[in-house]
């Protein structure tokens, strides 16, 4: 059985041994559309992360029996075309929840506690020269008693809410699907959420309801002391509007793991902010703890073992 992984670089140096055990595994770090069509010849199991699986690619792979998405979202796969050809498509869900939730709080606590500012104070020697045992130059914000607004109360959103409660936060949420199925916390309108929250955390998928959900008008509803965190998808927040709001002090700061275009272009507004110290970034890595990547590979292997 020939297994081809067209964009394996997205998994870094994670061991693919559990998959290699199942057949002849051929990995390419990345593939252009042209390369992809050449590489799927003779392939029975195709693994992709972001590579587009469209009709031309399927036509180039007459022996293809199974498509494995090495992630949750299958936007890159033409599901109808696969179904017509009787090719099952299997994705991987839930493997990254703990990792994303953890990175959400890493960002939140760094913003509230001004971590890079204080770290630099010590490492630069400024603290040593201050003559004072502590540093009172910039007050930071206590998490306890503050309001967390969660946008998108799915598995990740609920886990974020649970940990926020342990920190003594009050949690409210806005359901982007409109179902408001979670009864543990009050479901509110987007406007109420943005007006009341001290921290807004986005954990929604990108779809017609969430695309451009938060722009200049919505940012203006937020408190000047509030922080906005996006670990959902780029495109939910208007990036230029966000930079303008943070630079102008309309909100206090922001953390972002996901971008409309990835990697972000060098001329992106995020990289031209006048106050970079009010921003925290991770390069779409929130999902990718060592443990999450290992789980991902293990589940892809299980998906292949199920056969077709």
């Amino acid at each position: 059985m020939r297994i081809v992984f067209l964009d394996a670089a997205t998994l870094g140096d994670t061991s693919l041994a559990p998959i290699a055990r199942l057949g002849e595994l051929v990995c390419y770090p990345n593939s252009t559309p042209q390369e992809a069509r050449e590489r799927v010849a003779g392939c029975e199991v195709l693994i992709v992360n972001k590579i587009k699986v469209d009709r031309p690619l399927l036509d180039a792979a007459p022996s293809l029996r199974l498509v494995c998405e090495a992630a949750t979202g299958v936007n890159n796969i033409d599901l109808d075309a696969c179904a017509e050809r009787g090719i099952p498509v299997r994705n991987v869900a839930g493997y990254s929840t703990d990792s994303v939730v953890q990175q959400t709080f890493m960002h939140m606590l760094s913003l509230l506690g001004d971590a890079p500012y204080f770290d630099a104070k010590v490492k630069s020697g400024e603290y040593s020269r201050s003559g004072l045992f502590t540093d009172v130059s910039r007050p930071f914000v206590e998490i306890t008693g503050k309001t967390l607004g969660v946008i998108g109360m799915g598995t990740i959103g609920q886990q974020v809410a649970r940990i926020a409660t342990a920190f003594g936060m009050r949690v409210i949420y806005y359901s982007t699907s409109g179902t408001g199925h979670c009864k543990d916390y009050p479901s509110v309108s987007l406007e109420t959420l943005l007006k009341e929250s001290d921290v807004v955390s986005v954990h929604a998928p990108l779809n017609a309801r969430t695309s451009g959900l938060i722009g200049a008008r919505e940012l203006a509803w937020m408190k000047p002391s509030a922080f906005l965190i996006n670990l959902g998808r780029g495109g939910i927040i208007d990036e230029a509007d966000l930079v303008a709001a943070v630079d102008a002090g309309q909100i206090a700061g922001t953390a972002t793991d996901v971008f409309t275009s990835e990697p972000i272009p060098l001329d992106h507004p995020f990289l031209q902010a006048r106050h970079p110290e009010r921003f925290r970034f991770t390069p779409h890595t929130a999902w990718a703890s060592v443990e999450a990547r290992e789980r991902l590979v293990a589940i892809i292997a299980e998906n292949i073992e199920k056969g077709w």
Partner: protein, 310 residues
């Protein structure tokens, strides 16, 4: 009533309105020992944070009837000398528990999640030039399922334990006094704590039992993947030994809020580590959110009012 605060800068630029309401309040940012002697003349209520209250200072302030520590620890106050003169001493406790627990997890998650590295990867443009949608070449590890070892299960240690459990960490603890027990978590000896912890966090006071508790020998018992966080007191960890252990990879990294000498001397080993990226520091601000500082001032005011009998 004259209220004198000799080192008010330690609380910062916050409002002292709660104290001003009680009498004639005079706040000095900082005082040398000599200035202290001059400034307590005519003082009824003395407020200090780190300033040493010695018999000599009390002699210079014969009208002092109450000494308020603007913190929890009273190592700086000669309590016996105060008692001998009939002077009451009051401290403020628990005003900072939530903030210290918060700063603890700020450090833990930054160490586990490699926060500084990834932020720099984006801001420097390295991510943009990488041509890959996700930066997967620097691994980071999950808190969930890892073991959190707590030294000192007082009010702060317990709050840290509670949040650690919410993050699905396995919580174990070592009580430095042998007095704090909580059946909700597994109690272990120091050796067990060092060997099993993926994150070891210190929330103990400075006592004869904790001074130099963790040095080269203890650090060598820890996992090479483990992180050490010290939010308790500087001297609990031998600082040179910690720098050596982190630089050599004996442990993976460390975060420190408290130092043997504060502020940290410029020639301190912490400032000369070969791998500063493995360290996180805060300048003894783990206690000092704006909210905690407000509670502290209110706590001092309450102590004065209670002492006054109103």
């Amino acid at each position: 009533m004259r209220i004198v605060f000799l080192d008010a800068l330690t609380i910062g630029a916050g409002s002292f309105a709660a104290l001003e309401a009680l009498g004639e309040f005079v706040g000095y940012g900082d005082s040398t020992p000599q200035e202290g002697l001059e400034r307590v003349a005519g003082c009824d209520v003395l407020i200090v944070n780190k300033f040493k209250v010695t018999p000599a200072l009390l002699d210079a302030g014969p009208s002092i009837r109450l000494v308020c520590e603007s913190g929890t620890g009273m190592n700086n106050i000669d309590v016996a000398a105060c008692e001998a003169r009939g002077i009451a001493v009051r401290n403020v406790a628990a005003y900072s528990t939530a903030t210290v627990a918060q700063t603890t997890f700020m450090h833990i998650l930054s160490l586990l999640g490699n926060g500084l590295h990834f932020d720099t990867a984006v801001k420097s443009g390295a991510y943009s030039r990488s041509k890959i949608l996700t930066e997967v070449f620097t691994p980071f590890s999950e808190a969930a399922g890892k073991t959190l070892g707590i030294v000192g299960l007082g009010a702060i240690g317990r709050q840290v334990a509670r949040i650690g459990r919410a993050l699905d960490m396995q919580v174990i603890y070592y009580s430095t006094t042998g007095q704090h027990h909580d059946p909700a978590y597994e109690e272990v000896d120091l050796d067990g704590l060092l060997r099993r912890s993926d994150v070891l966090t210190i929330h103990a006071p400075m006592t004869d039992r904790t001074r130099g508790l963790i040095g080269a020998k203890q650090l060598s018992c820890m996992k090479p993947t483990a992180f050490l966080v010290n939010m308790g007191r500087g001297g609990i960890v031998v600082e040179q030994d910690l720098v050596d252990a982190v630089d050599r990879g004996t442990i993976a990294g460390a975060a420190v809020d408290v130092f043997t000498r504060e502020p940290l001397p410029l020639d301190h080993p912490y400032l000369h580590a070969q791998h500063p990226e493995r360290f996180r520091f805060t300048p003894h601000i783990g206690w000092g959110s704006e909210e905690a500082r407000t509670r502290l001032v209110e706590g001092i005011a309450t102590n004065i009012r209670t002492w006054m009998g109103c």
